[in-house]
Symmetry: C2
Subunit: 157 residues, 2 copies
DNA sequence: CATGAAAACAGGTCTTA
DNA sequence: TAAGACCTGTTTTCATG
């Protein structure tokens, strides 16, 4: 049987199937997962426990529609702190709840951040907090040709 | 009572609490949610059903650690198709399972995409698929000053 | 496999439009 | 009076030792 082996994880076809099912609906019961993969419920529970322990499964979360919460505008910000202000910018970003995600990256831009806001005015307030200490470049999201997609899609089995 | 009102949703404090708890652990049982918010289990189940129906809750998913699956390298790609090749580039991106996420954006770059790969060689293969039809700019993720954060953090109540 | 917990379902009450 | 939110039982299903 095909196995995916790393220092942390050692996944077989059943593990992958469980992960795929949980990705589609994290609230699927152990019993139902068991039926789908053809194992006993305790066996599936044990596999899930191990996937968590190994750090393969980091968390179970709910995907919330930003627009339904009034966040009708989303934007990617590229942020390039002026010399000496990197720590300050990091702190400001951490303090802005509108920033849903921020990665430190290589290249001329130091950070890439995702902001969800209710209006252009709100977006301006976010940028105004950062701009004293960094150059920013804002790209408003128009659509998503690729909806958040599974890491598992690239794996066979 | 404070309410968050939109065309789709009309959330009260209990709904927000339920969403926050599900965000922390989407597998929390209805019974436990009920205890936490001080309602009966059927009542909480009904609220959750409505949140799904209203599109506030889009999905329950599991967060998988890319590194645990051998994807040790993640990168942001900015992609700017050469004139006339936008449709082709869109198709290529859709066909690349390494691309976990891709947004169409305003500005000089047309797309922003997130890729998870196992190695630099694999990253090169991804870029090589795109580069005949677009200018790309690749920024490798070094760290994440802001871990994926709740949309609800900005809301009071 | 057995037991305690939880989910699903079915009325029933109270409030509000 | 009708709709909606919530509650209390009961039955079935599930989690887990």
């Amino acid at each position: 049987m095909k196995r995916l082996r790393n220092e942390n994880a050692d996944l077989d076809a059943s593990d992958l199937k469980i992960l795929r099912l949980l990705e589609k609906d994290a609230r699927t019961s152990t019993a139902e997962l068991a039926r789908a993969v053809g194992l006993s419920a305790p066996s599936v529970a044990e596999r899930i426990r191990k996937l968590q322990e190994n750090g393969v499964i980091e968390a179970y979360t709910v995907r919330i529609n930003p627009a339904a919460l009034g966040m009708k505008l989303s934007a990617w910000l590229r942020i390039r702190p002026v010399p000496g202000q990197l720590a300050v910018v990091t702190e400001i970003i951490r303090d802005l709840p509108e920033i849903a995600l921020c990665d430190r990256v290589t290249g001329e831009d130091c950070f890439i951040a995702l902001a969800h806001v209710g209006s252009v005015a709100e977006l301006e307030r976010v940028i105004d907090r950062i701009i004293p200490y960094a150059m920013t470049n804002t790209a408003i999201i128009q659509s998503s040709p690729v909806e958040p997609r599974s890491l598992l899609d690239g794996l066979k089995g």
